[in-house]
């Protein structure tokens, strides 16, 4: 076992970049894994931040991998499809969560094949609508990894979500608001004091400003994916229109617990039967 190595699910965004930077202080080697499939584009964008990390912590510290997960993702989405529609309905459209689940399954395989006992990612409490960033779903992932002797952690989970990203803030309305006397509106003069991943990256010298989320730079650091559109339609427009967040969270955890359990049987098959397993046939090298 390579106890001094870890694998990091790496999108190139601020959260996963800070995760990688924090891991550089603890491990000798960090495997940065970016996944690729149909409907992703610009998957080499994370190289921008890989270079920054290598420049700061050493070239040998980080190994960057782009791994295809097209077949595996399709399997994760559609396994026991009719049964899942009856039981979980439109939760099958939590695309971002299912995509992440496929990535986690592939990461388990990567770690088993390369004898790496540690995995981390940039899951953050601020993104609480995304299944893979909900505390109770993360716990299910943790249990799944533990089953195979792998430690799963989320070093940036407790960081606060980015401040000052409201639409009105980006327009800098102070340019047109009356300037004779009186106070400036709070929204225009708000300063970032929160403990965000962006702020920490700025302090480490890895980002040019405290908050790059949603900017052109942010878009150029990560692969492009529009799949979240249907996920947002389902969550905001359909489900949360008639349900509370707690109901959404409970239903999400139920669905992912079910999914993880089903896919764990396939991972067990991979561990026991190797090349004869269903998972092995879905791997793309």
């Amino acid at each position: 076992m390579k106890l001094n190595e870890t694998a990091t699910l790496f999108s190139g965004g601020t959260d996963s970049t800070l995760t990688a930077a924090l891991m550089a202080e603890q491990y000798d080697k960090i495997h940065l894994i970016t996944y690729d499939r149909f409907a992703f584009s610009s998957v080499t964008n994370p190289k921008i931040n890989v270079k920054k990390l290598q420049d700061k912590y050493g070239k040998d510290k980080f190994e960057f991998h782009i791994i295809k997960v097209e077949k595996l993702t399709r399997f994760v989405f559609y396994e026991r499809y009719l049964q899942n529609i009856r039981k979980h309905g439109f939760f099958l459209l939590t695309i971002c969560g299912l995509c992440k689940l496929a990535m986690h399954i592939r990461t388990v395989v990567f770690c088993l094949e390369n004898k790496i006992p540690n995995v981390c990612d940039g899951a953050n409490q601020g993104m609480h609508l995304f299944p893979a960033q909900m505390a109770n779903v993360i716990k299910e992932y943790g249990d799944m990894y533990t089953r195979y002797g792998i430690t799963y952690s989320n070093p940036v989970f407790k960081y606060e979500g980015p401040q000052n990203i409201e639409f009105a803030d980006r327009l800098h309305l102070e340019r047109i608001l009356p300037s004779e006397g009186g106070e400036q509106p709070v929204a225009c003069s708000r300063e970032t004091k929160a403990n965000t991943t962006g702020r920490k990256l700025y302090e480490l010298g890895l980002m040019p400003s405290e908050n790059v989320k949603g900017t052109e730079l942010d878009r150029k650091m990560q692969p492009r994916c529009f799949q979240f559109i249907l996920f947002n339609v389902f969550v905001h427009w359909y489900y949360l229109a008639d349900h509370t967040y707690d109901e959404y969270q409970d239903a999400t955890v139920d669905f992912y617990r079910d999914k993880i359990r089903a896919l764990t049987t396939h991972l067990d098959d991979f561990v026991n039967n190797g090349t004869k397993s269903r998972i092995y046939k879905l791997l793309e090298r």
């Binding site: 409907a39 529009f226 559109i229 339609v233």
Partner: protein, 59 residues
């Protein structure tokens, strides 16, 4: 409307679903960018008007 959009997504096979969402994404981007362009134009004109007013009052 959300039910229809979600329903279509649910019944489509993998690649068609990805293409469907991509189309939805580009439509959303188009509406969003059109809104942004119009809004920024309005703000720019208001800024110009504010500058002219200040110039007039200074005279």
């Amino acid at each position: 409307m959300a039910f229809v959009l979600c329903g279509i997504g649910l019944i489509l096979p993998w690649k068609l679903r990805c293409i469907y969402i991509e189309i939805l994404g580009w439509i959303t981007q188009f509406i969003h960018l059109t809104y942004i362009v119009i809004l920024k134009f309005i703000i720019k004109e208001l800024e110009k008007a504010k500058a002219e007013k200040a110039k007039y009052e200074a005279q």
